[in-house]
Assembly symmetry: C2
Homo-oligomer: 369 residues x 2
Amino acid sequence: MTTYSLLILPGDGIGPEVMAEVRKVIGWFEENKGLSFDISEDLVGGAAYDVHGIPLADATMQKAQEVDAVLLGAVGGPKYDNLDFSVKPERGLLRLRKEMDLFANLRPAQCFDALADFSSLKREVVAGLDILIVRELTSGVYFGQPRGISEDNTPGNEGGRVGVNTQRYTSGEIRRVARAAFELARKRGNRVCSMEKANVMESGILWREEVQWVHDNEYPDVELSHMYADNGAMQLVRNPRQFDVIVTDNLFGDILSDAAAMLTGSLGMLPSASLGAPMENGRPKAMYEPVHGSAPDIAGQGKANPIACILSFAMALRYSYNEGDNAALLEKAIEKVLADGVRTGDLMGAEGGVPVSTSGMGDAILAAL
Amino acid sequence: MTTYSLLILPGDGIGPEVMAEVRKVIGWFEENKGLSFDISEDLVGGAAYDVHGIPLADATMQKAQEVDAVLLGAVGGPKYDNLDFSVKPERGLLRLRKEMDLFANLRPAQCFDALADFSSLKREVVAGLDILIVRELTSGVYFGQPRGISEDNTPGNEGGRVGVNTQRYTSGEIRRVARAAFELARKRGNRVCSMEKANVMESGILWREEVQWVHDNEYPDVELSHMYADNGAMQLVRNPRQFDVIVTDNLFGDILSDAAAMLTGSLGMLPSASLGAPMENGRPKAMYEPVHGSAPDIAGQGKANPIACILSFAMALRYSYNEGDNAALLEKAIEKVLADGVRTGDLMGAEGGVPVSTSGMGDAILAAL
Ligand SMILES: CC(C)[C@H](C(=O)O)[C@@H](O)C(=O)O
Ligand SMILES: CC(C)[C@H](C(=O)O)[C@@H](O)C(=O)O
């Protein structure tokens, strides 16, 4: 029997409490499905800063490189808002993404039938929505050099400062994330829409040309379209179901995937996977995390919805452990719990339901399993 | 009697036909309100490229610098999609913005009562929506150097290329657009929300600090909040009415204002103003344009909705000609026409209405005046 290694990084805010529910789910799979996990747990974000003075210790980074998969809760909180840029909680997350070279960030935006009325959009616009945003995660303006703030005395700015960041993409960086998007599209609706601002940015022109090149040379069977990112934002609001897979850069992906997530009305439900190149065992380097943040306002109160984090573990089952059937089993159990009207506070709407705490939701999912 | 100078640049696609309706409205104000306009008309975008081989001739640029206001229709179309970056229709528009130094782009997102059901969002989420996005328009990644595409052979990219753009903001650039936002907020709900990605970009840190500085030193009476742009995109979808004035940079403003425009369901209704520094007469340099694009698919068919362009002229009356009362008169007339059920195709919904062509809508507005 294979033992799957997993590094759990609960992080800040509601991270630890949603992760506790994932632990229960993992226990269930060990007991009932004979899976075996080698779990280690460590600090990231503000929690790591409190202990180490940096948001990710080198030993933790090293460990992340060695395991089959990392599962991260969330990072950040008001306590850390005034820290220096270089040690902010976010830097821990960004370091993991960069050093593990997790270039393809998969962000499904799915509207769960039982929750369609939660969306601020009309039911008929979002019911059945199932799109996948593939965001480039290791380059672009997040990491480009030069960057920084310096003094500047150009005319009109005497005695002032200047802030600089660099958007920078190579052909290789664009091609590899395009390939990931085309591969995923083949298993879904077979359509990819690539978004950039090629009308105003040269990096967007290169993006468009390279995605087109990968399509023409390697994936001519997949339908490819291009859209300016501003129009993309509009179309996501107007008629999100027109999309299957969207591929875009790090910064546009950050904004567009959050907008897409909010369309579903189920932010507390959405998982994500960040994948890198294949390791020796053929599976990709991988980190999984819920799309929601650390939600400091409700942290520690048992109000958080653990489903996004549990669904992130389901993605780990599928992409890292090759346990697609068990992933589907877990996803089915969650659908059943929702259909039964079991609801954490964020899911409690006009039609009522069975109110549960964070751990109550975990228990309900175990029962459904 | 003062004569107001106006340069009309109809541009491409539906630009000319919506501009014809503005001409009628201008004629009405000349005949009935004793206003006097000195109107010149010229080419921009693809229309200019066809004649001059560039999307904005120097003489046109010169003229734009001299008039009280420029009114632009729209630029671009499939015919010009494969032109070199340097002569694309968009470059004409960007040159006008840059050389006139129109740093404050005002994009109101208003939901018209008669049209609230057109939104893909629920009526209760958008009814009465009235937010104003102030987008920085002359700097940031749109204009920053270095930029371009070049050969690159870094490991993993052998034989490949690299695309670079630079996000660059000075204190002075940030402060002046912040001031514009605070001034506008004082005449509205007195609240400004500033959006950036200060958690990952140094230029965002500078943005946040300078906006805060302007607030603390010059506008302490206005309520100021800060939000990450990805969260901003989410909040615009979740509950747009929480905002009054949003101030943000060129690229975020491009995306967020388009998302906000689409929330209203009335894209064919939304005007914009781009304002610069005061000229000798005390009024700002200014260009006005509808938010919608050139809509090549319906161009020349009399289907376009001229209201966004007519409302852009109303903004010119208010901000460039100091004719606030006449601006309000025109806006009222448009509201009446909508309340009467007069509808171009884009406004025709389930509840029906009186279908009119582009010129039919112009005539209805004249009648209502
Ligand atoms: C926390 C932050 C650094 C991060 C990002 O901007 O990528 C987050 O918004 C996300 O989308 O995962
Ligand atoms: C046409 C294009 C260059 C322009 C922009 O990106 O600014 C447009 O999208 C806008 O928002 O006015």
